[in-house]
Symmetry: C2
Subunit: 165 residues, 2 copies
């Protein structure tokens, strides 16, 4: 399987990072990384905790948060805070580069493939800032909610007309 290759690669990268930082290579840390790279898409801490509770190696919330911090620092995981109370995460590799469409009405988050990187002039202006990754959040109203709103507005109109009479 192709995903196993990726898993090995990120594990290697994680080990290198742990060695440099002189952190220990615990089974919990590898299990968490492995689990995160078993699926694409967004996840939050609660779902990760529950999923891992049912897996071979159960880990505590504290360890989950600790390990996520390490994975964020070495760039293997990306963190998003779209507007809800819970932070969302996703693996950094094996996902296509994408922006996020966030509906401010229903909260739905959709991925939107968009591979426009920085132009040379932008790169130049950013030269002193070492980019590790970037996130584009596009807020608006999704098509479903637009329709819902239209229906709602029609209702309101009818109501105000009848009440005015």
């Amino acid at each position: 399987m192709d995903n196993n290759k990726l898993k090995d690669q990120v594990k290697e990268e994680f080990i290198t990072y742990l060695n440099i930082k002189k952190h220990r290579r615990t089974p919990e840390r590898f299990a968490i990384l492995d689990h995160i790279y078993s699926a694409k898409g967004h996840f939050d801490m609660e779902s990760l905790y529950k999923e891992m509770s049912e897996s071979s190696l159960r880990v505590s919330r504290a360890t989950l948060y600790n390990t996520i911090d390490l994975l964020l620092e070495c760039g293997l995981v990306i963190k998003h805070q779209f507007g809800a109370n819970v932070s969302q995460y996703e693996r950094a590799y094996g996902n296509e580069n994408h922006d996020h469409l966030i509906c401010t009405s229903c909260g739905e988050v959709k991925e939107y493939k968009n591979s426009n990187l920085f132009t040379p002039s932008q790169q130049k202006r950013l030269q002193r800032f070492k980019i590790s990754y970037y996130s584009m959040y596009i807020y608006g109203i999704c098509s479903k909610c637009q329709k819902k709103n239209q229906v709602q507005e029609k209702k309101n109109k009818t109501n105000s007309l009848t009440t005015k009479k």
Copy 2:
């Protein structure tokens, strides 16, 4: 003053929104909008609360949160969650369009002017999503922290050499 003109404009827009939604036009709501449009840049709820406590019309935290929700909904204020625990806000008008450079090392957030809008082909693909605004967050290491890290790494090297002896 030019800013007063903007204040009047956004107040008008807010009134229109309140009327449509049949919300009341309370002095607190206008005071909060006015205060937010008195300065550029980011702010959080705590600083807004403290500043307004010292102003002519004191408002409670509850009202602050209620009103910010309204201002978000009608698009007069933008909300950011850069990674720290507190949400950051900024006024939507009178600020140049800008992206955000967020240093993952020290947490500093810098604005970066960047007026590249969506290309026609992107617009087309987004046609069913009604964009109200978008935020570009660029994570990385700022120049200051890069320097700090270099110094740190040199130290580590020296230490490991001496300990190896």
